[in-house]
C-alpha cells in the first residue's frame, strides 16, 4: 500500500494525493500533525519532517511532488 506522510492544508501534499487518485492508486494518509507516531515514522524514513513523503516499503521514498520519481516508485510495487 502507498503511504503519503502529509498534513491538512499542505498544497504539495494535496497534489501528491490528487495525482495518486487520478492514476487510480489507493493510498493511506498519515498525518504528521495529528499523529505523533506518524511524525516519528516520517522522520525515520526521510530523516526529516518535511512533507509530502510518499513511500511503499518505508525505505524508498519521494520527497515533495515529483511525477517522474513517484511513477518510478510506483513501478517498483
Amino acid at each position: 500500500m502507498v503511504k503519503v506522510y502529509s498534513f491538512e492544508g499542505c498544497p504539495y501534499c494535496d497534489k501528491v494525493k490528487k495525482y495518486l487518485a487520478a492514476r487510480g492508486i489507493a493510498y493511506e494518509v498519515h498525518d504528521i500533525e495529528e499523529n505523533p507516531e506518524d511524525a516519528a515514522e516520517c522522520q525515520r524514513i526521510s530523516g526529516d519532517l518535511t512533507v509530502p513523503v510518499t513511500t511503499i516499503d518505508g525505505k524508498n521514498f519521494v520527497l515533495g511532488f515529483d511525477k517522474k520519481k513517484i511513477d518510478e516508485l510506483l513501478a517498483t510495487a
Binding site: 498534513f7 492544508g9 499542505c10 498544497p11 504539495y12 501534499c13 494535496d14 497534489k15 490528487k18 495525482y19 487520478a22 504528521i32 500533525e33 526529516d48 519532517l49 518535511t50 512533507v51 509530502p52 520527497l63 515533495g64 511532488f65 511525477k67
Partner: protein, 309 residues
C-alpha cells in the same frame, strides 16, 4: 508518439489570473485547457489569510482558489496540473504547446504563469534546501513544532509567513535587510505576538550546520555588529521572479523578465495574451490578476470570433 489535441484556448498557469480567464472562457463556451506546472493557485495557495479581496472579510488562499477552480470547471474548463509543459511555439498558426505527454494545438494562448519565489542568494542554499531552508510555510512549517524559526523578508508574504509560523515555533525571528514593506495591519499583528522578534536593517550573511541548518550569521547594519543566531529553520520570502523561461525564445521580455503587454493584455504576437503578475505593470495584486484574467479572456473570445469568421 504523443497524441495531438486541438483546443480553442490554452491558459498557462492556474493562479488567480489563469483561473479567472478559464472561468470566463468556459462561460463563453470556448474549449479551454489550463496547464499548471506547479500547484493550483500559485503564490496565493500559500497565503493563510487574505483580507484585501473584495467580498471576503478574511479567506484562506487555498479556499479561495478551490472555489474558483470549481467555478471554472463547472463551466467546462479542463485543468491539468500533472502534465508539464516542455516547449511552446507561439508565432505559428496554430500555436503549439508541447507537454511531457501530449502536443496541443490552439488558436489562443493566455500566459498567466505568475512568479516563483526568489531563492536565497547564498552559496550554502543548495546544501540546506529542505534541510533548514524552506520556501513554503504551509508545507514545511509543521516540521518546526517547538523549534526556533527565522523568516527572511519584509513584505506581506514574509509577515504573513511569520504570523503563521508562530503556530509552531517557540520563537520566530523576522529578519529583513531594510524596513518593512508589508501592510500596516499585518505589521501590527506581528509586533503584538510575544513569540516574534523583529530584526530590521539586518542581513543574513551565512548559513551553518552539519547535516542541516543550525545557525545563521547576521549583520546588523545599524550597529555594524556581526552575530551568530541559533535557528532550526529559515523560511525565505525575499520576493519573486517572473516565471517566463518557457517564453524567452518567443517573446521579448522586459528588463525584469516580465512580458510587455498593455491593459488589454495583448502581447506582440496576435492571439497571445499575458495576464496577472507575469505582465509588466505597476500594480500586482490579487484583484488586478483577476482583472487581467477577465480582460484576456474577453479579448481572446473577440480574437477567436474574428479568426473563425
Amino acid at each position: 508518439m504523443k497524441e495531438r489535441i486541438h483546443k480553442d484556448v490554452i491558459i498557462i498557469g492556474a493562479g488567480m489570473a489563469g483561473l479567472t480567464a478559464a472561468l470566463y472562457c468556459g462561460r463563453m463556451n470556448l474549449d479551454t485547457l489550463v496547464l499548471e506546472n506547479g500547484i493550483i493557485g500559485g503564490q496565493i495557495a500559500n497565503a493563510t489569510d487574505i483580507e484585501n479581496f473584495p467580498g471576503f472579510i478574511s479567506v484562506k488562499g487555498g479556499d479561495l482558489i478551490a472555489t474558483l477552480q470549481q467555478q471554472a470547471e463547472n463551466f467546462g474548463a479542463i485543468i491539468d496540473e500533472f502534465d508539464e509543459i516542455e516547449h511552446v511555439t507561439l508565432k505559428s498558426s496554430p500555436k503549439i504547446i508541447e507537454t511531457q505527454e501530449k502536443i496541443y494545438e490552439c488558436d489562443v494562448v493566455i500566459i498567466a504563469s505568475g512568479m516563483n519565489r526568489r531563492k536565497l542568494p547564498l552559496p550554502e542554499e543548495k546544501k540546506f534546501a529542505g534541510r533548514g531552508v524552506h520556501y513554503c510555510q504551509l508545507c514545511d512549517g509543521a516540521a518546526y513544532n517547538g523549534k526556533i524559526i527565522a523568516v527572511m523578508g519584509g513584505g506581506n508574504a514574509a509577515v504573513d509567513a511569520a504570523n503563521f509560523l508562530t503556530k509552531y515555533g517557540q520563537k520566530v525571528y523576522l529578519i529583513h535587510r531594510s524596513e518593512f514593506r508589508a501592510d500596516e495591519v499585518s505589521q501590527k499583528r506581528l509586533r503584538a505576538n510575544k513569540k516574534v522578534e523583529i530584526m530590521l536593517q539586518t542581513e543574513i550573511k551565512a548559513l551553518r550546520g552539519d547535516k542541516r541548518l543550525e545557525e545563521v550569521e547576521i549583520f546588523d547594519k545599524k550597529s555594524g555588529e556581526t552575530k551568530t543566531l541559533h535557528v532550526d529553520g529559515i523560511f525565505v520570502n525575499i520576493g519573486v521572479v517572473p516565471n517566463t523561461k518557457l517564453f524567452e525564445d518567443e517573446l521579448k521580455l522586459t528588463a525584469s523578465g516580465r512580458i510587455p503587454a498593455g491593459e488589454d493584455c495583448k502581447t506582440e504576437i496576435e492571439g497571445v495574451f499575458a495576464a496577472g503578475d507575469v505582465r509588466e505593470k505597476e500594480i500586482r495584486q490579487l484583484t488586478t490578476a483577476a482583472s487581467d484574467g477577465t480582460t484576456a479572456a474577453l479579448l481572446a473570445e473577440k480574437y477567436l470570433s474574428k479568426l473563425k469568421g
